[in-house]
């Protein structure tokens, strides 16, 4: 294998890893503040990607032609809309079920995921077919020896890193972040210290869902195509990545995302059969991983109160 090809694989792996990490961070945030898994998270990503596509088409129709502006508008519309959707889901379905058995939350969010996915399939014009996603980033490439660094990939990767750094700063350096971490650590104590629990939960869901929308746009720009099923796939892998890193830990989720992408890329290169099996391989890895380390790489100390 040449160095150029190797670099290409590394780049692909990094792009995949960034998307997985962004989704996994959402799962881990929700789990942190509420101890729930929101299975509809992946489908929020789908809706986000389609919202971005719709706003692109809309803005294009009213005559906006500048690519950077279009992209910026898409990102703003999609992240804001998904933040609102995330808050709505938390308010209407997740918070009311806090006292119900955990199974009900699981089933409700799973079914909600189906509702979102099917709504995209049925109500987006010709939503059952894959949709071309506009290539809005510069398409040039910088030759680095044998490897051509594509500009759009480099920009997306940088943007992803910036988003994650921003999230880190938000969580570690702001009062809101302090409140989120406080609620994640101990809800009751946080309440007694005057943290507005409901507001913190809603904001956390907004942040997580906005991240999902961002990942959805990234997915569209990377593959130049979206369909109504992308979220289900990314959701399952993102959840698995969050578990690998240990649910509740942001760094763990990011690490898990990249680790998973690395495994998948290595699998695609090393295994003899065609890349058609790459999703099969990914899900097999999820299952094997759950058998090997059911609570993540850093084993959770299990003690249960009865």
């Amino acid at each position: 294998m040449t160095a150029g090809l190797l670099a290409q694989y590394v780049m692909n792996g990094l792009m995949l890893g960034m998307m997985y990490a962004l989704v996994a961070v959402g799962f881990t945030l929700f789990f942190g503040v509420l101890d729930v898994i929101k299975f509809s998270h992946g489908d929020v990503l789908t809706v986000g990607a389609f919202t971005a596509l719709a706003s692109f088409l809309g803005l294009k129709a009213v005559g906006l032609a500048s690519n950077p502006l279009l992209l910026l508008a898409m990102i703003v519309v999609a992240t804001m809309a998904m933040a609102a959707l995330g808050m709505l889901i938390a308010r209407a379905l997740v918070l009311p079920l806090r006292t119900a058995p955990a199974l009900n939350t699981l089933l409700i969010t799973l079914m909600l995921g189906t509702v979102l996915r099917e709504s995209v399939r049925l109500f987006y014009p010709a939503g059952a077919n894959p949709k071309p996603f506009p290539a809005l980033l510069p398409t040039g490439a910088i030759p680095l020896g044998q490897f051509n660094l594509r500009l759009d990939n480099a920009i997306m990767l940088t943007a992803g890193v910036l988003v994650i750094v921003a999230l880190q700063l938000l969580l570690n350096r702001t009062k809101l972040g302090l409140a989120i971490r406080a609620v994640a650590q101990d809800e009751e104590t946080a309440r007694t210290m005057g943290v507005n629990f409901t507001a913190v939960v809603l904001i956390t869901f907004a942040i997580g869902s906005a991240l999902a929308a961002f990942a959805g746009i990234m997915n569209g720009l990377y593959y130049n195509e979206i369909n109504f099923g992308i979220g289900l796939l990314l959701g399952v892998i993102g959840f698995a990545a969050a578990i690998i890193g240990g649910l509740g830990s942001i760094y763990g989720a990011i690490l898990g995302g990249f680790l998973f992408a690395a495994l998948q890329t290595i699998g695609a290169v090393a295994l003899p059969f065609a890349s058609a099996y790459k999703d099969v391989f990914a899900f097999a890895v999820v299952i094997i991983f759950m058998a090997w380390r059911p609570t993540g790489l850093i084993q959770e100390k299990i003690s249960e109160r009865v």
Binding site: I37, F39, L93, P96, L97, A100, A102, L103, N104, L106, L107, I108, L110, M111, L112, T114, V115, R117, E118, S119, L122, L232, L233, V236, F239, A240, I243, A274, A276, Y277, D279, V280, F283, A284, V286, I287, I288, M290, A291, P294, T295, E304, V306
Partner: protein, 387 residues
């Protein structure tokens, strides 16, 4: 328990009446073709149940089912036969009836896992598909007797399911859900990219043939021609009866008691000496076996298998049936399967929207009536026991 001899048993009449009414309603629903009439019938049916509930007419029915279940089960079989006889030459309706029967078998399997042992399985349609693909491959390439193919389909589903045992046993709740969801997506993708099993186009399945009797030929009795689906109906009904008896006996036995304990509180159950792993394995494998058998026969009935029939969304439909029917209630499952399978087929306008509608319906049920449409009754520890 004195004074609760045979004499004080609830009357059979309300149960028989309810079953007869249900059969008549079902025949009417299946016979009607015009969309407005179907909508009218559905609305009428819902209104009828609500009104009956309002006046408390359902209580004697429930009591008669609780006390005289065996007799009423026989009456229910007669009702099923009556429905089949009514439509003896109607291919489409009989196919629908057979679908209901086989889906009920599959959801009974899911019920053992989910309703009794509390083992989550979001890959029900995948195991169904494994059964169907088994019959496609075996019927095309081997001379294995077709009744045996059904058995092999079930065994293969159970065997492939056992690959998931380790992760399912080691995980719980959301984590276990993830494992089965990943499996559902894996299997569908695998079937799609695999050339040997027909890829996205799927495979043709040869019809059933037992002792030289081909199930895909119409039956002629004198001058009356009967639909070939009647043969499939007979086999499906027999399998359903077997599965139903098995599930009900299992539920009432000490095994069912163990599974209930396991579901309600795993830790307490293990403290009382129950072997958690053993019962989870039993429930998961037995459930997958039933789903696989149903799938194998369904493959032969439909004559065609394709990955798109066994998606994650279809698995969720199966889970929806279990939740709607009242988790753990075998009779409720029959009712819920009829609703979930028949309504979209008859009401063509909602056919395309069925995944969406049932997802919404399940959300509503979980929010407002988490115990399902027909809640599972309290276990009866001895005859005549009423809590």
């Amino acid at each position: 328990m004195e004074g609760r001899g045979k004499g004080s048993q609830a009357s059979l009449l309300p149960g028989v009446g309810a079953l007869a009414l249900a059969a008549a309603y079902l025949i009417a629903l299946l016979a009607v073709e015009k969309q407005p009439l179907i909508i009218g019938l559905l609305v009428g049916g819902i209104a009828g149940v609500v009104v009956a509930n309002w006046f408390g007419w359902l209580v004697p029915v429930a009591r008669s089912f609780a006390d005289r279940e065996d007799t009423l089960a026989a009456v229910a079989i007669v009702c099923a036969l009556a429905v089949a006889a009514w439509f003896h030459d109607n291919h489409f309706v009989l196919l629908l009836v057979v679908t209901v029967l086989l889906y009920t078998v599959a959801t009974l399997g899911l019920n053992i896992q989910f309703g009794y042992a509390g083992v989550l399985n979001f890959a029900g349609a995948s195991f169904f598909g494994i059964g169907a693909y088994t019959s496609a491959v075996l019927n095309a390439h081997t001379a294995v007797p077709h009744l045996l193919v059904l058995l092999i389909g079930g065994l293969l589903a159970a065997a492939i399911g056992s690959l998931l045992l380790l992760p399912v046993l080691r995980t719980r709740g959301h984590y276990a859900a993830l494992v089965t969801i990943a499996f559902a997506l894996l299997l569908k993708t695998f079937l799609e990219v695999n050339d040997v099993l027909g890829g996205p186009q799927g495979l043709q399945v040869k019809g059933m043939r037992v002792l030289g009797w081909s199930f895909n030929d119409n039956i002629e009795v004198g001058s009356i021609e009967l639909s070939f689906y009647l043969s499939y109906f007979a086999v499906s009904l027999l399998i359903l009866i077997g599965a139903f008896v098995l599930v009900r006996r299992l539920e009432r036995s000490w095994i069912g008691l163990n599974l209930d304990a396991l579901r309600l509180d795993e830790i307490a159950a293990s403290c009382f000496g129950l072997n958690i792993a053993r019962w989870k394995i039993t429930a998961f494998t037995l459930g997958n076996f039933l789903i696989g058998v149903a799938g194998a026969l369904f493959g032969m009935v439909g004559g065609f298998v394709a990955p798109n029939n066994y998606t994650f969304a279809d698995s969720l439909i199966l889970v929806s049936i279990v939740i709607l029917g009242g988790i753990g209630n075998a009779w409720g499952l029959v009712v819920a399967t009829i609703i979930v399978v028949v309504v979209p087929e008859k009401l063509q306008t909602i056919q395309e929207y069925r995944f969406l509608l049932y997802a919404l319906l399940v959300i509503a049920v979980l929010l407002f009536r988490p115990e399902g449409l027909l809640p599972r009754p309290v276990r009866r520890y001895f005859p005549g026991f009423r809590p």
